[in-house]
């Protein structure tokens, strides 16, 4: 990379990148070995690793809208691994490791920025749970520390140490915490996958799933029927609806999640700061805008509308944490659709239908898992349904045997 920069910096013409864009769309084939429903980050990552590590390239990604246009573009781009359970920490830690190498791997800048994430504790109970999370994280090789108010003050001088009359007692300082450009992650994976022969079909909506003797054999789309060896469902906010086409009922409830950004200001906030007691997290993007996010809406809905109630309560908390923000103006606001499971962990792996693999229940934590989820889902598909150890605890049937993986307390803004 640096050599080419030097070379072309001194020459008059810049090399025209022939494969800068995605390949032009083709007709759908009659058969694919693997059909991936959903062209978001998880779907394209799965296709990428299938092609790269397993040599499986007769793959179609069917996307009803456009590449990365759903919840991949609606999250607040937080990358972290400071969860509570061993299963969770082990999984997300590998994701952080993969994220760190993605720009190099794609030869495309995903703007990965390792700024650290700070979660604030306002009660003794939270401090105790932070202690546990610190130890679990360290055990699995993550960089997480419990820090005191003085250290917090040094790290974030603009923070009000007594927000909403709830003094900050300690902080969970997750040094590996990072952010990246979410669109770029989807683009990088899509480019890498299509270069290796995977077909990405945008504006192609799956309208039905054909199941024969308990086994998936094909899908119907608005562009015709396709037969397939297996299906990977990675549709984020619409998991229950798509799974129902295959006759699968899921342990999921769907809620909107609202977020917003302010006008850009000078850089003042390096780490990502969140408080579960105030149900709010705050970060400053590379462009200077401040992103606010909180918990999901209080009741289920399939709608990306915004409500004044949630805006008001979220911003009241943000202004408590950083009082000077009261003078800023909001620039944009939006909502995503989140698939919440009752234990706040995802669902990955097998389904009651043979060769129909699920990647769902990603609630508010899907973006940060994109690389490792794609990698392990690819492994699952390539091995014909042998579940990799890493994702075995996240099988859907954990609910049938009451073996949940409880991550409720480890969400950035508890719900």
């Amino acid at each position: 990379m640096p050599f080419s920069l030097l070379k072309y910096g001194l020459s008059n013409d810049y090399p025209f990148e022939k494969d800068a864009d995605l390949p032009t769309p083709t007709e759908l084939k009659r058969h694919y070995d693997v059909v991936i429903i959903g062209g978001g980050g998880h779907g394209v990552a799965t296709a990428y690793y299938l092609a790269k590590y397993h040599g499986i390239t007769n793959v179609a990604i069917l996307e009803k809208g456009y590449l990365g246009g759903g919840n991949t573009a609606r999250n607040t781009a937080v990358i972290r691994s400071n969860y509570l359970t061993s299963e969770g920490v082990k999984f997300y830690k590998q994701s952080v490791d993969l994220f760190q190498g993605l720009s190099n791997e794609f030869d495309f800048n995903i703007m990965y920025s390792s700024r650290g994430q700070l979660t604030l504790a306002h009660t003794d109970a939270t401090v105790r749970s932070f202690r546990q999370r610190t130890e679990v994280n360290k055990h699995f090789g993550g960089k997480t520390e419990l820090i005191d108010p003085q250290q917090i003050k040094e790290l974030v001088p603009t923070l009000n140490m007594n927000p909403a009359d709830m003094p900050i007692l300690a902080g969970l300082w997750h040094i590996d915490g990072a952010t990246a450009r979410h669109d770029a992650v989807a683009w990088g994976y899509a480019k890498g996958a299509t270069q290796r022969g995977v077909e990405l079909h945008q504006l192609t909506e799956v309208t039905g799933v054909t199941v024969d003797h308990g086994k998936v054999v094909g899908v119907d789309t608005n562009r015709g029927k396709v037969s397939c060896g297996c299906v990977v469902q990675a549709v984020a906010g619409h998991s229950s609806i798509v799974a129902a086409m295959a006759g699968i009922k899921m342990p999921i409830t769907t809620y909107p999640l609202q977020a917003m950004v302010t006008q850009p200001v000078k850089p003042f906030l390096d780490p990502l700061v969140s408080s579960s007691a105030l149900h709010c997290y705050v970060q400053q993007t590379g462009r200077g805008e401040i992103v606010f996010g909180g918990g999901s809406d209080p009741y289920p809905l399939y709608n990306t509308r915004s409500t004044l109630d949630l805006k008001e309560s979220l911003l009241a908390s943000a202004v408590e944490m950083f009082p000077f923000m009261a003078n800023l103006k909001l620039m944009r606001q939006w909502a995503g659709i989140t698939d919440m499971t009752s234990d706040y962990s995802p669902i990955m792996g097998l389904s009651p239908v043979e060769n129909y693999y699920l990647d769902a229940g990603w609630g508010t934590w899907g973006f940060k898992a994109t690389p490792i989820c794609g990698k392990t889902m690819a492994e699952l598909v390539a091995n014909g349904g042998k579940v990799p150890d890493l994702i075995a605890p996240f099988a859907m049937d954990r609910f049938d045997v009451f073996r949940q993986v409880n991550e409720m307390g480890a969400t950035a803004a508890s719900h």
Partner: protein
């Protein structure tokens, strides 16, 4: 501000209410299998349509049922649970608990 009509108190701000989950047929908790109970507790159709759901008016401590569309968020009807349920389900103490006490 979105309003919801409480059958007991009339129209109120929706922030006064707490969502209590879909109205589902509860299996007999003494006789059903683990899978049936898990189905009842965790699984849901979770689709786009008008559903019946439990809501709680927090200031007055009153549970009722609402019919709401899960995409348009339109609340079509709210009513007292007595329209659907005549009896309370009796969760008498389990045998283990009684043994523990003795």
């Amino acid at each position: 501000m979105k309003l919801m009509t409480c059958p007991l108190n009339g129209p109120r701000n929706i922030t006064e209410f707490v969502y209590g989950g879909e109205v589902k047929e509860m299996p007999n908790h003494k006789a059903c299998s683990d899978k049936e109970w898990a189905d009842y507790v965790f699984y849901s159709d979770n689709t786009v349509k008008v559903i019946q759901e439990w809501w709680f008016h927090s200031p007055s401590g009153y549970w009722f049922i609402a019919e709401r569309h899960t995409a348009s968020d339109e609340i079509l009807r709210t009513y007292d649970p007595s329209e659907l349920y005549q009896d309370r389900v009796d969760f008498e103490q389990g045998e283990n608990l009684q043994e523990g006490r003795a």
